[in-house]
């Protein structure tokens, strides 16, 4: 069955190539769903044939020479560390395509987005499957250009600079990572990760290990991201379209932390031991900084982005402890963060789509009343993210703190106790900012400060109608809005935009309704805060549309998994624990 890892990489790649065929391009989203579903089936099959009796071993390996001149082999395989991430990636990509079917982002063509997402999937899955240092690096780089285009073409208002920042930062990280990997290669003479991990650093001088760990760690820390190298992240997450944010937070960040678990720590144990205190210090600085920054945010997406900095801080703290407990916690927190933050970005995207803004002040309160489904799921996701026991967010962070409580032999315990204390404080602050946010947005009376951004498409199966009406002219004053509305309404009283599609269908005068809608759209866009007559009128008549079928289909699997891993963490730990012990080697276990 060793063709499974190859198929996991090949299917999305061929899917991306096939998406250029005109016949496929016309129904690109359906094609994307089909391909990503096939990949998900392959990933589940991978999980099914995986031998859980020996999760510490590399299984289903493929090992072909690719570029003998570089010593690069096409070496793929899966073990207990990578398996959960492979399945998570396949799942999130599939859910993103499902979401895309109902909610295509504005910007370039959707078929282009389908191609970029599929190429992105190739890179993400390949990174988790690669067992050759340079092959890992190649896949690590594959994600950069597609993600750049996802942000730059389908992103928000500040997309251009956010995309450039993202790619420049992460490429700088990659270049340093490459130097580190090459140092390992020159010292150890092999690129085979399995062999390298098996040696536990034997054959690499201590000074070279420290140097290589520094370079590899810096490279991965940009991606993870570790404070203070995180500055690309808030912009990228905020400006990316919903699916981009979900994959960025849900998978791309994991590539950095996975690199720590797969390469930096097992291959360079002495380097890791020497630099672990620094890693821990930056990790807890990130936890504290992330949560304090969250308290200061007004934008919902930006807040979730900063919360990622804090959560990934916990992951890094777990790695820094160099204990099986800490590493286990880190890997668990990794997966949990992927699920929870993926869900959070889906929800934030849904909020932004409905309100036209993610600014918490302008959102006002009362979301639970206006959008019961979205509001309650947002509450659920936030509670999961702040680490409520019984949900997935809890176990990982608790275990990383436990790892810091008793770090590996050779690490300064008092120092790590301080780290643990700061981390604990960070957890409290995390709870604080999420609760503050919930009280602002979901609870309270619905202060209707924001008009719906745009009429939502009907949840028609698979082929949502594209809005074709041109955006209205930019209007500066309420007077202008009224004028335009009356003009569009052919001299009659300002036509109130009609909300539900059923009502639109019922109305015979479609043209009038369309014109009215176009005007209201223009008004809502130009004025933002709809304190004008027209927008308020629109507001009264058109309630927000709650979660659509597509959204629920994308969200509920994540909810189920968050609950599952919260109640039954052993499902994940059973796979990771033996793998972690073998990664650290016998000598490191406490």
């Amino acid at each position: 069955m060793s063709w499974l890892p190859i198929a996991l990489v090949a299917v999305p790649l061929l899917g991306a190539v096939a998406a250029f065929v005109p016949a496929v391009r016309d129904s690109a989203v359906a094609w994307g769903i089909a391909v990503s579903a096939a990949v998900l089936v392959l990933a589940v099959a991978l999980a099914a044939v995986f031998d859980y009796a020996r999760p510490a071993e590399m299984q289903l390996q493929t090992d072909w020479p690719w570029i003998p001149g570089l010593g690069l082999r096409f070496h793929l395989g899966v073990d207990g560390v990578s398996l959960p991430l492979v399945v998570l990636t396949a799942l999130l990509v599939f859910l993103c395509f499902v979401h895309l079917a109902g909610h295509p982002p504005a910007g370039g063509r959707v078929s282009g987005l389908v191609v970029t997402l599929l190429v992105l999937e190739v890179g993400m899955l390949g990174t988790f499957l690669a067992l050759d240092l340079l092959l890992f690096f190649v896949f690590f780089e594959v994600v950069l250009v597609p993600m750049y285009f996802v942000i730059a073409l389908w992103g928000g208002a500040g997309r251009r600079s956010a995309a450039v920042k993202f790619i420049l930062y992460t490429l700088l990280g990659s270049a340093v990572l490459l130097i580190g990997l090459l140092v390992v290669w020159t010292q150890a003479g092999t690129l085979d990760m399995v062999a390298l991990a098996g040696h536990h650093g034997a054959g690499i001088a201590r000074s070279a290990q420290i140097l290589a760990f520094l370079a590899i760690g810096l490279g991965l820390a940009v991606k993870t991201p570790m404070w203070p190298l995180h500055t690309w992240l808030p912009d990228a997450h905020t400006e990316a379209p919903t699916v981009g944010s979900v994959l960025l937070a849900g998978v791309l960040l994991k590539m950095g932390s996975y690199g720590f678990a797969r390469i930096a720590i097992p291959v360079l144990p002495e380097g890791a031991a020497a630099l672990a205190p620094w890693l821990g210090a930056f990790a807890v600085a990130g936890i504290a900084y992330g949560s304090l920054a969250c308290l200061a945010q007004r934008d919902l997406k930006r807040m979730i982005a900063y919360s990622s900095v804090g959560h990934m801080g916990f992951v890094l703290l777990g790695f820094a402890s160099l204990t099986p407990v800490g590493l286990n916690g880190a890997l668990f927190a990794n997966v949990a963060h992927g699920l929870i933050t993926g869900l959070l970005f889906f929800l934030a995207g849904a909020v932004k789509e409905r309100y036209g803004t993610a600014d918490m002040v302008r959102l006002g309160g009362g979301m639970l009343r206006r959008l019961p489904y979205v509001g309650s799921l947002l509450t659920f996701a936030c509670v999961a993210s702040l680490g409520l026991p019984g949900l997935a967010g809890f176990w990982g962070e608790m275990l990383t703190l436990l790892g810091a409580f008793r770090p590996a032999a050779g690490l300064s315990r008092p120092l790590f106790l301080v780290f643990m204390a700061v981390g604990g404080l960070g957890m409290v602050l995390t709870a604080a900012y999420f609760l503050v946010m919930l009280s602002r947005v979901t609870h309270g009376r619905a202060v209707e400060t924001v008009a719906p951004a745009a009429p939502l498409e009907p949840a028609a199966p698979l082929a949502p109608a594209q809005p074709d009406e041109p955006p209205g002219p930019p209007l500066a004053t309420a007077e202008g809005v009224r004028e335009v509305l009356s003009e569009l309404g052919e001299g009659a009283e300002p036509v109130e935009p009609v909300a539900t599609e059923a009502a639109v269908a019922a109305l015979g005068a479609e043209a009038v309704a369309d014109a009215g809608e176009a005007g209201a759209r223009g008004a809502a866009r130009a004025l933002g805060v709809g304190s004008t007559d027209a927008a308020e009128a629109a507001q009264r008549r058109r309630p927000f549309r709650d979660a659509t079928v597509y959204e629920l289909a994308a969200w509920l699997p994540l909810v189920a998994l968050i609950v599952l891993f919260g109640l039954w963490p052993k499902a994940l730990f059973a796979v990771t624990t033996p793998a972690v012990q073998s990664l650290l080697g016998s000598g490191m276990a406490p």
Partner: protein
């Protein structure tokens, strides 16, 4: 030869490739004189030139397939050597067709094929679309000069003595001035030609002075004998004394002359104006053929004549490489014209080609192999970019980067090809060729222990990405309002794009093709 009585036997099989090119060059001149002056004439000349290039490429391929090393123009050890100590050495040959020279010859000939294809489009259409008498290029002279340049470029990597090196380098350079200025009544082209001429003449003068000093010190012009003489001199004097100092000056001067040709810092300033002023095919020629010859000459000089002095020149090469890539990238970031951007970016790429040579003292084979491999990858990627730029430059205002907005949506083939070339040059997947080229160079540098240079290269990779990705993003951005012009389709240039893209894709999937011949 002195003394007479020495009859050199010439191995015509060894010199077949340059011979074919030179004969076809003569044929082109004759045909130009006798063919009736009608529109199809230029096309015939282009096809003849193309045939000559392909024939020479085939010769090189046959020689490479045959394996082994062919030598000719040899001087027995008893002649020409000044010092008695090297009289026992084997014969020194001026022309050696070994793997290095064949690889470089293949690269320049393949690039030559692409340049001819681009020239056919350039000559068939005037500046701004449509054939116009003003600014028309005389086809016969053009192709003759092109073939002359290529003859020099094929001779150069096989040269193993200083005289032949300088002569073939001049054979590469001189026709290029004329090619640059061949479009009549074009002030910019004339200025570019003059600039190139002055730079080139100065660099030749500097090189010749260095060559004369080297000859004075060693008493020989053959690279292997220079090496031997320098080694014995070094053994005797311990590397001090007046001779050693003169040797240092000679090395610096000769290297400086080559640095002009490859536009390395601090002799890089001419690149922007000359590339911009010259017709696009000539810019492509400069950035690939001329540059490859310059590098071949530099590598020959440093590694055949001066390997004993590696400890002396490697630090200098490292510094020049770092400065070249940095300066090229910084200048490229500020450009708004496509050709100028490519000019400076190719200066930056020169820095990467140069970088592995800095570890020659530690790992000689890997250093040269990495340099040559990067050169091959670079040639393929860069030629795609120039081919598409030539097509877009046909449009009014097509010189400007703004003209590329939405190109991938208006003309998908051209847009996607250029996007592929740019991500290759940036060194990112899906441009795997560029990524592997970068890895090869990084590996050589890290292996050689030059950590600081690796860090400078890392920073420069990011700097380079900044402008490559900005250009790539422009290709996919929604076109400006009312802009729906598609790139005119031209068979020849289209073929050039197709060939270069195909080669680069092969290099991406199977980079071993390059690594096995260069390493």
């Amino acid at each position: 030869m002195t003394g007479g009585g020495v009859i050199q036997s010439i191995d015509y099989a060894a010199v077949a490739a340059p011979l074919v090119l030179a004969l076809v060059a003569g044929l082109v001149l004759l045909l130009d004189a006798f063919l009736p002056a009608r529109p199809g004439g230029a096309r015939v000349l282009g096809l003849v030139t193309l045939g000559g290039m392909v024939a020479a490429l085939a010769v090189v391929a046959v020689q490479a397939a045959g394996g082994g090393t062919r030598r000719t123009f040899c001087v027995p050890a008893s002649l020409g050597g000044a010092s008695a100590t090297i009289r026992a050495a084997p014969a020194s040959c001026s022309f050696v067709a070994d793997r290095f020279s064949l690889v470089i010859a293949a690269v320049v000939l393949a690039a030559g094929v692409v340049v001819v294809l681009l020239s056919m489009t350039e000559i068939a259409t005037g500046r701004d679309g449509g054939p116009a008498e003003r600014g028309r290029i005389p086809a016969g002279e053009w192709y003759f000069l092109l073939l002359a340049t290529l003859t020099g470029a094929v001779l150069l990597p096989a040269s193993r003595d200083l005289i032949m090196l300088v002569v073939s380098l001049e054979l590469v350079s001189l026709p290029v001035f004329a090619l640059t200025a061949l479009r009549r009544h074009d002030g910019r082209a004339a200025e570019a030609a003059l600039k190139l001429f002055l730079v080139s003449v100065v660099s030749t003068a500097v090189t010749l002075f260095g060559v004369s000093l080297l000859y004075g010190v060693t008493g020989s012009v053959h690279l292997d004998r220079i090496d031997a003489a320098l080694r014995t001199a070094g053994d005797m004097t311990g590397g001090t004394g007046d001779m050693a100092r003169v040797t240092v000056v000679a090395i610096v001067l000769v290297a400086a002359g080559f640095a002009f040709k490859i536009a390395a810092v601090p002799f890089h300033f001419w690149a922007g104006d000359v590339y911009r002023g010259a017709p696009v095919p000539v810019a492509a020629l400069l950035s690939v053929v001329s540059k490859a010859s310059g590098f071949a000459g530099l590598i020959l000089l440093l590694t055949y004549a001066l390997p004993g002095k590696a400890a002396l020149w490697t630090p200098g090469v490292a510094v020049v490489a770092a400065l070249t890539m940095t300066a090229g990238n910084v200048l490229a970031m500020r450009q708004r014209g496509a050709v100028r951007l490519l000019a400076w970016s190719s200066v930056a790429q020169s820095g990467y080609i140069l970088a592995p040579l800095a570890v020659y003292a530690v790992a000689p084979r890997a250093a040269v192999g990495a340099s040559v491999a990067y050169l091959v990858f670079y040639a393929a990627m860069n030629l795609i970019a120039f081919a598409v730029v030539l097509l877009v430059a046909r449009l009014p205002g097509g010189q400007d980067l703004e003209a590329y907005r939405g190109l991938a949506l208006r003309s998908p083939a051209a847009g996607l090809s250029l996007a592929f070339a740019l991500v290759c040059l940036a060194g990112l997947p899906p441009g795997l060729a560029g990524l592997f080229a970068k890895i090869v160079v990084f590996r050589a540098v890290v292996d050689g222990g030059l950590g600081w240079l690796a860090l400078v290269m890392a920073a420069n990779t990011v700097a380079g990405l900044y402008y490559y990705i900005a250009w790539t993003a422009r290709l996919f951005a929604p076109p400006a309002a009312g802009e729906s012009r598609t790139v005119p389709t031209r068979a020849a240039a289209g073929a050039a794009v197709a060939v270069t893209v195909a080669v680069t894709v092969v290099f991406s999937v199977a980079p071993q093709v390059v690594l096995s011949v260069s390493g």
